[in-house]
């Protein structure tokens, strides 16, 4: 009955089956990920305008232009400001929330929904609401501030305050996600350590600095990398709320890419911008993968 297992036909099928199973996903990746990555590189060496028309080989001129362009460097600065603002606030508050949630108490599910709602909602809808909240004359924020006797501002309408306003929304949106990740990390800390510490008379702060924080390091590092990568790539938020303005004060790298590629159709130059982004994110993702690997096994 089991002699069929050794027939040539069966062996052939067994040999090709894995490749047949991989084919669908591999095909999609090959066409829409691998090919684009390399073609992008190829395009970045050309003065490629619009989709098909004129193009001439210009070597690394695009990159040279990029690295000396004040426009690009401005975008880099803006992006760094955004990332540098979001990370401490988003992660700090996320950690606080996780610490608060890490107890035996009821309502954890309800809190998770409350805090995670901003995370699952699209930037499009969120941007629309916050644009309204930030509206200088009638928006909720200024109204509340005035009621409290605090100074009001022009928020998204003024270059100095636009980026901080954006950062506030970005942080608000990501706190729930950070809290969930931190919570998972916290729950991996063995209870016995805390109990032992309590017997030794350690108070809350001591328990945190000596036990919680050190054992959270893998989670914290992982989250740090992920947060940097994610905030680096913010596009829809900027598009909805400020379109890079006012006065280019919120024109992050990805928005700059969008403008160059799909508004001005400088495809070659934009590809160079994209590749610079790739290099930065690639390095960061590499680091994150190493840590995510540890994290997954830990679970």
């Amino acid at each position: 009955m089991s002699s069929h297992v050794n027939t040539r036909k069966y062996r052939l099928i067994e040999f090709f089956t894995p490749y047949a199973m991989l084919l669908p996903s591999a095909l999609v990746f090959a066409v829409f990920v691998i090919f684009p990555v390399f073609f992008s590189l190829y395009m970045s060496f050309f003065n490629w305008r619009a989709v098909s028309s004129t193009r001439e080989f210009i070597g690394i001129s695009n990159y040279a232009q990029l690295l000396t362009s004040s426009e690009f460097l401005h975008s880099v600065k803006v992006t760094f400001a955004y990332v540098a603002g979001i990370i401490p606030i988003g992660m700090g508050l996320g950690l606080v929330v996780a610490l608060l949630l890490n107890r035996k108490m009821r309502g954890v599910t309800m809190y998770r929904v409350l805090y995670y709602l901003p995370v699952v909602t699209a930037w499009a809808a969120i941007g629309v609401v916050w644009r309204w909240i930030y509206q200088p004359s009638y928006g909720l924020l200024n109204v509340v501030l005035e009621r409290l006797g605090l100074p009001i501002g022009y928020w998204l309408s003024e270059p100095e305050t636009a980026m901080p306003s954006l950062i506030a929304v970005g942080a608000w949106k990501v706190i729930g996600y950070n809290a969930v990740i931190f919570l998972a990390g916290l729950q991996n800390v063995p209870q016995e350590l805390y109990e032992a510490a309590e017997i030794d008379g350690a108070g809350g702060l001591r328990k945190f600095t000596r036990i919680t924080w050190p054992l959270l390091t893998p989670t914290t590092f992982f989250l740090l990398i992920v947060s940097v990568i994610n905030s680096f790539q913010n596009f829809s938020g900027v598009y909805v709320m400020t379109k890079g303005g006012p006065m280019e004060s919120t024109r992050v790298i990805v928005y700059y890419l969008y403008q160059q590629a799909f508004v001005f159709f400088n495809m070659g130059y934009a590809s160079a911008v994209a590749w610079i982004l790739v290099l930065v994110v690639f390095v960061l993702t590499l680091l994150q993968m190493k840590f995510a690997d540890n994290k997954v096994h830990y679970q």
Binding site: T17, V28, L101, A124, Y177, V180
Partner: protein
């Protein structure tokens, strides 16, 4: 004396929990305040919106705003496009990812590790660099402004492959061995044995894929031109940019856009949270 001590030990954690709840609720209110404001503004009349100081609740709930917003821009089309593309992409990824996950977790073949690292590699590539060439591919295929553009590039994703592979690895070999001896093909094994056993993992992948696709913005912005092919997030933003100062309509449109996501999330949050903590992907 003793009675007082016992009470203190019971009281402190209770008090502690009480304070924690207080903090969490106050902060939680800040977290959802924008949503509440969105809904209440959407039900006001335009003059009410401009009232200063503003009231929280409108005099009469203007449900008509929703009808007006819906008719202002082709929201019906936006909805359909997002749902259709979302469902197709989700189904596609479930198929391609479970096939790949099975191959990686269960089969031995030359080049397995090497190919796996390649899959890993695609995860490290930020989507922005694929945008321009993919856009050009769409031009060359003639797929700009079609459903193909919204669906085909996303029929596979490594996230699903990894999550399912992880899950498949926990299924014991013995189940397969019996089926193999009976002459089952690998495909049969996958569909009849592995998939039914993996419902939670499949649900997680399905939900996160659907959500990510629903919220996607950059690609639909550039790959689609005509209003009636637009997806919901992009359609919403275009509508809002045009609606100028009609805040009540803008809020109504926003509510329309996010209600499905919120419902989905509340109903299936268990799967979302699991998906996030297992892979770190935000979705």
């Amino acid at each position: 004396m003793l009675a007082l001590q016992i009470n203190r030990r019971k009281l402190m954690p209770l008090l502690g929990n009480g304070i924690v709840h207080l903090i969490l609720i106050s902060f939680g209110i800040i977290m959802i305040a924008p949503f509440i404001w969105m809904v209440t503004t959407s039900l006001k009349t335009l003059p009410e919106v401009y009232m200063f100081p503003p009231k929280l609740l409108p005099e009469k709930w203007q449900w008509s705003n929703y009808i007006e917003a819906w008719n202002y821009a082709p929201f019906g089309s936006f909805y359909f496009n997002s749902v259709f593309a979302g469902v197709m992409v989700t189904l596609g990824q479930l198929v391609t990812s479970s096939l790949a996950a099975y191959a990686f977790s269960r089969l031995r073949f030359p080049g397995r590790n090497w190919i796996f690292y390649c899959y890993l590699g695609t995860m490290m590539i930020p989507y922005q660099v694929t945008l321009i060439p993919s856009y050009m591919l769409m031009r060359w295929f003639g797929w700009i402004d079609t459903y193909q553009a919204l669906i085909v590039p996303f029929l596979a994703d490594t996230f699903g492959v990894f999550l399912l592979r992880q899950y498949f690895l926990t299924i014991p070999d013995s189940l397969e061995d019996a089926a193999l001896i009976d002459g089952c093909s690998r495909f049969r094994i996958l569909s009849s044995i592995f998939l039914p056993l993996s419902k939670p993992a499949l649900a997680t992948v399905a939900l996160m894929t659907f959500l990510k696709n629903w919220n996607s913005f950059f690609w639909p912005l550039i790959a689609i031109n005509s209003m009636k092919m637009r997806t919901l997030p992009v359609g919403l933003v275009l509508f809002v940019d045009e609606a100028g100062t009609q805040w009540h309509l803008q809020m109504a449109a926003s509510v329309i856009s996010i209600v499905p996501v919120i419902l989905l999330f509340v109903a299936a949050q268990k799967y979302f949270i699991r998906g996030i903590t297992l892979t770190g992907v935000k979705g």
